[in-house]
Symmetry: C2
Subunit: 270 residues, 2 copies
């Protein structure tokens, strides 16, 4: 199902600034049993991202109503929300009136593969680098061409994800996920001040780490350091947590901490 500004339609204005300039924000939300998981967190992040680029985010009940309408018919699905600066004429200057458009669309829920928890996932390095733009770093905005270019580097199921480096060769993220490394009892994830998307599950994993007696650090990570880590994790709102089992010639096996973090991220709805 697709709702545009709350109405059931598959189409949006060809003059929408989301199309013209990528002038908008999005969220990808996992829904199970008619519930949009972590919705209050999703809305807070959506609102904060809209504020950073000066879009008037719709109020929470408006977006919640769109989601409810979808979940009445499809109780288990992925809901993608897009909020844009609305229709605009030609030219970068936003309309004085401060428009906004919203799209809510459902997609099939990928089955959580229990084998993935047991066997982990194989990942690769991407050659496409993440660019630098501090003004947009951390925001889940619609300018995602570099993620598309990175994801085009492979097809087929042998790799579940590709890891991306920044212009200086530091690890930033996966094409669709945040990255963590475990070094003994310290969980480390890259700083996202110059590039990257700060996902909601990234916050959740940092919060849950304490419950597993892990310290957390947010700092620059080199590929060499990642290869030496005792575990590597990927998170996003669709998959939860994946642990990496192979990258080039390096192999990992899931530790007890990994099993516990996976369980916590999946079970607790906060």
């Amino acid at each position: 199902m697709i709702l545009v500004d709350g109405k059931r339609t598959r189409r949006i204005s060809a003059l929408d600034r989301g199309l013209a300039y990528g002038d908008g924000i999005f969220r990808t939300i996992r829904a199970e049993n008619g519930m949009a998981l972590h919705w209050p967190r999703h809305y807070r992040k959506l609102r904060a991202d809209c504020a950073r680029i000066g879009i008037d985010c719709p109020e929470e009940p408006v977006l919640a109503a769109d989601i409810d309408e979808i979940l009445r018919r499809e109780r288990d699905c992925i809901v993608k929300l897009i909020v844009t600066r609305g229709e605009g004429g030609r030219g970068y200057a936003p309309p004085q009136s401060g428009g906004v458009s919203r799209v809510a669309a459902s997609f099939p829920l990928p089955a959580l593969d229990p084998a993935r928890d047991r066997l982990g996932v194989a990942v690769r390095w991407c050659t496409t680098r993440v660019g630098w733009q501090p003004a947009l770093a951390g925001i889940k905005h619609l300018n995602r061409l570099e993620n598309v270019l990175a994801r085009r580097e492979w097809s087929g199921p042998e790799f579940a994800e590709g890891l991306m480096l920044d212009l200086e060769g530091r690890v930033v993220e996966g094409t669709m996920s945040n990255v963590f490394i475990l070094e003994q009892d310290v969980l480390i994830t890259p700083l996202l001040d110059w590039a990257g998307v700060a996902g909601l599950q990234r916050d959740r994993l940092l919060e849950q780490a304490a419950a597993c007696s892990l310290a957390c650090q947010v700092e620059r990570i080199t590929p060499e350091r990642l290869m030496c880590a005792s575990q590597v994790y990927l998170t996003n709102s669709v998959l939860g947590l994946w642990w990496v089992s192979s990258l080039e010639d390096r192999r990992w096996r899931a530790s007890e901490t990994t099993v516990e973090l996976t369980r916590r991220l999946r079970k607790i709805d906060d």
Copy 2:
């Protein structure tokens, strides 16, 4: 008038990858007396940009037919062409089938203000920086959020354009134009290898410079150097060439070279 995939409609699929990811390319074309100015150049650049991000650009006659349909009704207008990777599901991986969508839309032609040629334009510095992404530098793609943020820094008519610096503080471009400086008999424009859009009028001005006995250089330019230049120019396909008359407390007056370059860029349809 708006054509989507050649059909008269104002709407496009809400699942188009142009909206989801800015996964596409665009052109802005000036049309006068039923003629799309510099169309062969526009098409070459569109095709080259599509190739850089792996989109199958529609063949020239397909796009020319869209433009013709618009120009049969509106002989003087701006035509904006958008070519995207078409509809996609959720996820960055492009569909195997290699889709493509196209939008052709007309907008009112801004009158060429003769006073602008005589008096020049006032410009300002933007605080929003142009990010670095060599993989996308020079391409007129749909990821234009930083241009939007820069253009939001002012409203009202007192400034015709804002100049943008890169992350190291070098001059890159205007929010909607390319920048040139004149130093004696040398025309200089910024290197666009890490950031910026290489516009079609940029190429044309570099070509026409020889006819005015100017040498050309493409290199990094500091703001201080721009302030000391004997002339500063802005180009794009809608406005042609503007000469800058004021920036902060610096004032310029049009030189004979400026008058000649303006005339050549506007008069010659190549």
